[in-house]
């Protein structure tokens, strides 16, 4: 299982990230102090696969912690309220893999985490949802062992649903993530793609429409 360390001085934010990442299948540990974070990393050197780091921290600030982490080669995503370009550049120059500005949306956080883990080849290569198995690298989908042919957009849509199991995904978000364009209320395209996914995967019951929101993939683990 992939282990993630969350360092943020705000307990509510730690809990928020913890809850969502745990639901996405990660194991999370959180601390609220820079020095404690360093101690913890020191103690369990190779344990963490990813560190989410705030910058303004009591004890040692995020940049100090980053200095400490860099030689260990653990990927880091800064999560901070500092939004100015110079802060971002400083964070990235110090060796962070990504930079997420508060306030952020959960989907965004999960996508960034996935992206960084993928870059480090730490993601599970096979995503599962029921009897559907997705080989991300090979871009191959099977259902009960039988290969399913999907278009590029359908594949991306499927992956988004599987990465956010049991989470209602908003139309805007889906559209923006899959089509990489701004959503202008034209839901026909999206509906058609979801319809096709349902048919191809036999997910008429699992891919449910959520009234006034969008869609949710419901699978029992």
């Amino acid at each position: 299982m992939i282990k993630i360390l969350i360092v943020d001085d705000e307990k509510p934010i730690c809990d928020l990230i913890d809850l969502n990442l745990s639901a996405a299948g990660y194991e999370c540990t959180s601390v609220q102090d820079g020095m404690k974070a360093i101690e913890l990393i020191d103690k369990e050197k190779d344990e963490f696969d990813l560190i989410l780091l705030d910058i303004m921290l009591p004890g040692a600030d995020g940049y100090d912690v980053m200095d400490y982490i860099r030689p260990l080669g653990i990927p880091v995503i800064f999560i901070t309220a500092k939004h100015e370009v110079k802060d971002r550049v400083k964070g990235l120059k110090l060796g962070a893999d990504d930079y997420l500005v508060k306030p952020f949306e959960i989907v965004e956080l999960i996508a960034r985490v996935e992206a960084v883990l993928r870059r480090y080849n730490k993601t599970e290569k096979l995503l599962r949802a029921g009897d559907v198995v997705i080989d991300v690298e090979a871009r191959r989908v099977t259902k009960a062992g039988k290969p399913i042919v999907l278009t590029n957009k359908e594949f991306r849509l499927l992956r988004l649903f599987v990465e956010n199991k049991n989470v209602a995904l908003f139309r805007e978000k889906l559209y923006e993530k899959v089509w990489e364009e701004e959503y202008f209320g034209d839901s026909r395209t999206l509906d058609l793609h979801v319809q096709r996914l349902r048919r191809k995967l036999g997910w008429e019951q699992n891919l449910v429409a959520v009234y006034k929101v969008g869609y949710r993939l419901e699978v029992t683990e």
């Binding site: 001085d9 705000e10 307990k11 509510p12 934010i13 809990d15 928020l16 990230i17 809850l19 969502n20 639901a23 609220q32 102090d33 303004m56 009591p58 309220a81 500092k82 939004h83 508060k102 306030p103 952020f104 949306e105 959960i106 049991n166 989470v167 209602a168 995904l169 908003f170 929101v213 949710r216």
Partner: protein, 486 residues
């Protein structure tokens, strides 16, 4: 055109004109005096010759009772030859026919027309590039009246004038050249303060506000330089002040954005989770609770900010306030707080203040003291009248403030221990508000803290003698009302 060049040019023009005029006048004056003298001499000579002629004519033996033409000729040539100076003369008879003329006497006879009995005449003539004075008079010898003319060479006087002009012209040119050099030096020396000022202006324009012009003279330009520097200093101060103000404002906005975003992240995140995920009851309640508490935190922050803004606007209602009432209020407010031991100890006195604001300051200070103290910690609230001031002091025996943080704690959003302060609903604005209120009262917060021992926060207000002040106040009011009546 450069000012120094203008100065140089005009000086040169004036100098050339005055040198030219004075030179012309001087040379001419010398010439005219010389000519006058020569004319005088010529006239004298003429008289001498006439006399000599008349004398000579008397001595000549007279034939036929009258002076013969050839006799005249003889006498004239004698006169001419007698003085070996190349004297030129001409003698004409009554009908103005020439009887005798020296060699080279080639002047026309125009002068004879002007000459008459007892009328002497002279003129200056130019013959073949030479100048002569031509004089004419009448000679009475026996019964004849003859005309005697002389010619005196005065070319020298004229050539002296020409030489004079030439020399003077050369002198003038030389003087002008020397003048240009000297005036150039003088004008650049005179305009040096202007150059230095211009340089200073350029430097300041380029943003170097600390540059000052060098003062090189004590005259009006030196005065100008000094005034300019004084202005530059004032300007620099203002700019520095503005920059500091801008920096402070930027810091404030930055801190504000950060403090705003932190609760917003939680609120948005948990709300997002609630709307998109099926959560069990425990998690739903936790999420809702976080949204509530973080919302409350935003509320506290916005109220405090509002307080600060209102205070900054300075719309406080000052009045005479007995400190006793303030302390009573504080005692009531904190009587409910059982976790701490409060000790009150104060003198009586009256201060000129906005009571509600001073209460706010004390409540904030005591709140901070509580935050720093352990359970059952002692918090001392005291007031002392001393030397015309009333000192309010809040002392705790808590953890103290690290020395390096003490200067920063009145900055907005600054928190010594963030996580601890947050857990007690602090926004980091309390002391900033206190500082604003106190600056409105022309006072300031004094912090005396030792880590591990405790903190003492105090401020002073001017103590007033109520009756006296009240009387003055009333008088003031009457005067003002009187003014408005008029």
């Amino acid at each position: 055109m450069k000012f120094s060049f203008k100065l140089l040019l005009w000086t040169m023009i004036v100098m050339a004109i005055s040198l030219g005029f004075s030179g012309f006048y001087f040379v001419n004056y010398v010439f005219e005096t010389s000519l006058e003298r020569e004319i005088g001499q010529a006239a004298d000579e003429n008289s001498i010759l006439r006399f000599a002629f008349e004398t000579a004519a008397l001595n000549v033996p007279v034939k036929y009772g009258m002076l013969q033409d050839d006799t005249v000729e003889q006498v004239a040539s004698n006169l001419e030859g007698a003085q070996d100076v190349g004297r030129l003369l001409r003698i004409s008879d009554e009908e103005k026919n020439i009887l005798y003329a020296s060699d080279g006497f080639e002047a026309d006879e125009a002068l004879l027309a002007q000459t008459g009995e007892s009328i002497k005449a002279y003129r200056v003539i130019n013959m073949d590039g030479k100048y002569y004075i031509n004089t004419g008079s009448t000679v009475n010898a026996l019964d004849r009246m003859l005309y005697l003319e002389t010619l005196k060479d005065v070319s020298e006087v004229f050539s002296e004038r020409t030489t004079g002009f030439k020399v003077y012209r050369r002198m003038t040119i030389l003087m002008l050249v020397v003048g240009v050099v000297i005036m150039h030096i003088i004008s650049s020396w005179l305009t040096k303060p202007i150059k230095l000022l211009t340089k200073a202006t350029r430097r300041m324009e380029a943003g170097d506000y600390s540059y000052r012009a060098k003062k090189v003279s004590d005259d009006e330009l030196g005065q100008l330089t000094r005034d300019f520097n004084r202005m530059a200093a004032a300007l620099e101060d203002n700019i520095n002040m503005l920059e500091e103000e801008i920096q402070a404002r930027e810091d404030f906005v930055g801190a504000f954005a950060h403090e705003l975003k932190t609760p917003l992240t939680s609120i948005i995140g948990y709300a997002d989770m609630l709307r998109s995920r099926k959560l069990d009851e425990e998690k739903s309640i936790m999420s809702a609770n976080y949204i509530f508490t973080e919302g409350k935190r935003l509320e506290t922050m916005s109220l405090r900010l509002l307080d600060i803004i209102v205070t900054r606007r300075g719309e406080a209602k000052f009045q005479y306030t007995a400190v006793g009432s303030i302390f009573e209020y504080i005692r009531d407010t904190f009587s409910e707080k059982g976790n701490f031991r409060f000790e009150y100890n104060y003198d009586d006195g009256v201060v000129w203040a906005e009571a509600d604001l001073i209460k706010t300051v004390l409540v904030n200070l005591i709140d901070n003291a509580c935050k720093a103290s352990e359970q059952d910690g002692l918090i001392e609230v005291s007031g002392q009248a001393n030397d015309g001031y009333y000192y309010f002091t809040v002392r705790d025996h808590g953890e103290g403030i690290p020395y390096e943080e003490q200067a920063k704690i009145t900055q907005a959003f600054y928190m010594v221990d963030k996580s601890r302060s947050r857990s007690r609903n602090g926004a980091g604005l309390g002391l900033a508000l206190c500082a604003e209120i106190l600056s409105l009262h022309e006072s300031a917060l004094e912090i005396d803290s030792e880590p591990g021992v405790g903190t003492s926060m105090s401020f002073a207000l001017t103590l007033t003698d109520e009756r006296k002040e009240a009387q003055e106040y009333e008088e003031d009011k009457e005067v003002k009302e009187g003014e408005t009546d008029n």
